[in-house]
């Protein structure tokens, strides 16, 4: 075994230029795959985190039917009972309450429809990034009675600024008119267009009073310690909550169900990426097939001599496979090292694409894209390259089995 290793290693350096070019081709493919996969996985993680942290949370509890039709009467009638159940669970890190009502907001000049959301300021701030994305003015404080924070696009449409007054007009839970004067306390810019264009937030207490909610809420939003905990938490919650007696039965929604487009969009992107990568790997495979073929055919005489000396066909195949594996492994090592270095560098500095801020915002991505190196992104691409290269090398190595010593020695 040892002698074969030595032979194989020396054989590949008999023609250093060719071996280096082949190694470079493999290294290039590996480097690109490590970087691109890290880049894609990094963007997906950012996209998911960004979308969930701004508003959605990891899971939401709502009354049956509220997700499809946001009717004000479909409430969680006893939120405290649900909260009690949530408190007990280690797989729920934190939770908050929200209520929503579509209403008219009028400034002095303009009137727009808006989704009025009642939030619990301190809980909401622990759960989402809303406090951090206040661009102007202040976030809501517990005890605020007629303060409102609104999205920047809504503020622009209404032509209002911090300190201006808005008139709210809507329909309360019991069908009566909900009306009030509100003062703009702050303006937020979440980066999610729909939210910035239509959402206005007031405190839960104000909402309760205006819309006559009598303590009920529409949504309980919760986060788990990590994304991996969401599934078991939801399964557990469904069981726990089914015992509660509410006016409307409760339903638990995971973030995947709340924003179905997100995962599907990521899938489309991932699948198209895989198609691109596979094509590239196949091109690389054919690119290096010639090297492996030549390594066999220009050494026909040499193999003839070895066969005549009593080396078995199996051992020759083995030797050739060792040579290809060496080339492949060296290339992979170089590619993985290079890819990791490149990824880590950009993971540190971030990638800024000039003029793409708006597109990134549309995809729910931060301005600086950060690839994220993981074991998966580091090894997945190179592993596929290794398998394909190995298969490529198999063909020439098998051809050796047909060599006959005398004929081979006479080959030119």
């Amino acid at each position: 075994m040892h002698i074969e290793l030595t032979m194989a290693w020396r054989n590949i350096w008999r023609n250093p230029r060719r071996s280096i070019l082949t190694i470079l081709a493999i290294a290039f493919a590996c480097l690109l795959l490590v970087f691109m996969l890290s880049f894609q996985f990094g963007s997906y993680a950012d996209m998911i985190r960004f979308s969930l942290n701004i508003h959605t949370g990891h899971l939401q509890i709502k009354a049956e039917g509220y997700q499809k039709n946001r009717e004000i009467r479909k409430v969680i009638s006893d939120p405290a009972a649900v909260a009690e159940r949530l408190e007990d669970r280690p797989d729920i890190r934190d939770y908050t309450f929200r209520s929503n009502a579509f209403s008219l907001l009028s400034s002095e000049k303009r009137t727009y429809g808006s989704m009025i959301t009642g939030i619990v300021p301190d809980r909401e701030a622990r759960l989402t990034t809303i406090e951090a994305v206040i661009r102007k003015g202040d976030y809501l404080a517990t005890g605020d009675t007629n303060q409102v924070i609104i999205g920047d696009l809504l503020a622009e449409n209404l032509r209002v600024d911090v300190g201006d007054e808005l008139v709210l007009l809507g329909q309360a839970r019991d069908g009566s008119v909900a009306a009030s004067m509100l003062a703009v306390a702050g303006i937020f810019s979440s980066g999610q267009e729909e939210m910035d264009r239509s959402v206005a937030m007031i405190t839960r207490d104000t909402f309760d009073r205006l819309y006559f909610m009598r303590g009920a809420v529409h949504e309980i939003v919760a986060v788990c310690p990590s994304l991996a905990d969401v599934k078991p938490a939801v399964t557990g919650l469904k069981e726990t909550l089914s015992g509660l007696d509410m006016r409307y039965p409760l339903k638990v929604w995971t973030w995947q169900e709340l924003i179905p487009g997100l995962l599907q969009g990521i899938k489309i992107d991932l699948i198209s990426g895989v198609i691109f990568y596979l094509i590239m790997i196949i091109v690389v495979a054919f690119s290096i097939l010639n090297t492996f073929l030549m390594a066999v055919f220009e050494r026909t005489r040499e193999f003839g001599v070895l066969l005549a000396l009593g080396v078995s066909h199996a051992r020759l195949t083995h030797l050739l496979m060792l040579e290809s594996s060496f080339i492949c492994l060296v290339g992979m090592a170089a590619g993985i090292a290079g890819g990791a270095a490149l990824t880590l560098y950009f993971q540190h500095t971030g990638i800024h694409i000039a003029g793409a801020a708006e597109i990134l915002r549309f995809y729910g991505l931060p301005e600086a894209l950060r690839p994220q190196l993981s074991w998966l992104s580091l090894l997945l691409g190179p592993a596929v390259v290794f398998v394909v290269t190995f298969l490529t090398a198999l063909y020439p190595a098998w051809r050796v089995r047909r060599f006959k010593p005398v004929e081979a020695m006479h080959a030119t």
Partner: protein, 408 residues
């Protein structure tokens, strides 16, 4: 002579040539095919967006695009109309619209929508709505002052249907909230759910009457016979209309996000071409290099017989060019065939409809060929291919007769 010599040389080792040809063919095929898919995708995105009430160009009050409120409407569009009649090429069509944000309400639901007041006969020739009504009927000019056409998704959300009542509320020119009751006479299906939830169509007179708009309109949308003429028509219209009263905007500016997205993809495609090329470039160098190295004696011989280094370079480069040319031709042909065969039925992404909607990708992609894309892919392969083949060619040219002939 080079050509004949090179042609014979590359077939001296047919297996090797076949292998590298395969690499080039797959590379070129993938460029043509994936390029075609990309082009098909963004063509569909543009067309879809153009049909979704964009058109090739629009005329607004200068303040409207920043603040699309009823206050920023064109009070009397006659000047715009006559300018259009003078400037537009034959075959172009235009229509007036009132477009304001409104609140739609029925007994149990309310939500924000965009109310679009249209001239039905003209609108049908410009935007998607003409052919999109799948239940009931489209609005008719001269009647239907209380008829409304809404999207399927909105109808579902509102648990409503044909013949039912829906109330629209919006701010009138006097600043007061105006409302009007409409009967649903038609339900349309759009390309995206967002469209179906957003636009509610009523007749222009109904919208004007409701908003106390008089003869005012929000926008004029124009569809040209050829999209490529947009820039020129925009310039002419800007010259014909007073800038303080009218703003003329081409479709690229009307949909900045899609334009920027397409530019980004465009850059991405060039990068992809280069990546594929590099992948096969290593193979091309290696193969040509092998072909050169095993012919060292031969090169030494022809050199001692008086062949100049430059001629040797030319010969080797010609060999590489021939391989590339064959690969490019076959790659292109297979590329066209796959684009063409997929173009008939399209690539169906409806399994991922919600994801496609979110990223505003069309649900069915019909690959298409654009001359620009094809030329670009082929140029990348040809030019870079020639560049890399220079390396083995120069090595061949440097061979000295004595050394070469001394080799076994």
């Amino acid at each position: 002579m080079y050509l004949q010599l090179a042609w014979r040389n590359i077939w001296r080792n047919p297996k090797r040539t076949a292998v590298i040809l395969t690499a080039v063919i797959i590379g070129v095929w993938s460029m043509i095919f994936l390029g075609g898919t990309m082009v098909g995708m963004y063509d569909a995105m543009i067309e879809n967006q153009l049909a979704t009430l964009t058109g090739h160009l629009q005329i607004h009050h200068p303040g409207y695009r920043n603040d699309p409120a009823v206050a920023n409407s064109m009070k009397d569009p006659t000047a715009a109309h006559s300018a259009l009649e003078n400037v537009l090429p034959a075959g172009a069509v235009w229509t007036d619209r009132v477009r304001v944000s409104a609140i739609a309400q029925n007994a149990r639901h309310s939500t924000g929508v965009t109310m679009v007041g249209i001239r039905p006969d003209r609108e049908a020739r410009i935007s998607f709505i003409g052919g999109a009504v799948t239940a009931g009927r489209f609005l008719e000019t001269g009647r239907d002052d209380h008829g409304i056409v809404i999207g399927r998704a909105l109808a579902e959300d509102f648990e409503t249907g044909l013949g039912k009542k829906i109330i629209l509320m919006s701010q009138g020119t006097d600043g007061e909230i105006r409302s009007r009751a409409f009967h649903i006479i038609g339900i349309y299906q759009g390309q995206m759910e967002a469209t179906e939830k957003n636009f509610a169509f009523v007749t222009l007179p109904a919208a004007r009457d409701m908003l106390r708009l008089g003869t005012g309109i929000s926008e004029v949308a124009v569809l040209l016979p050829d999209r490529a003429d947009t820039g020129q028509v925009v310039t002419e219209l800007r010259r014909a209309l007073p800038a303080g009263e009218y703003e003329v905007t081409g479709y690229r500016e009307l949909m900045p996000l899609i334009t920027a997205m397409i530019e980004l993809w465009d850059t991405f495609m060039i990068l992809w071409y280069v990546v594929v090329f590099v992948a096969m470039g290593f193979g091309i160098i290696n193969t040509i290099l092998m072909a050169v190295m095993e012919r060292i004696r031969e090169f030494g011989l022809v050199k001692s017989l008086g062949m100049r280094p430059r001629q040797i370079v030319a010969l080797v480069v010609t060999e590489a060019t021939l391989i590339l040319a064959i690969g490019i031709v076959i790659g292109n042909l297979t590329g066209y065939v796959s684009v063409w065969s997929l173009a008939r039925h399209g690539i169906d992404l409806s399994v991922f409809a919600a994801g496609a909607d979110r990223f505003s990708i069309p649900r069915v992609i019909y690959p298409a060929l654009h001359l620009k894309e094809v030329v670009r892919a082929n140029l990348v392969v040809l030019i870079l291919g020639l560049l890399v083949s220079l390396y083995p060619a120069l090595r061949a040219a440097r061979i000295t007769p004595v050394k070469a002939l001394a080799r076994v």
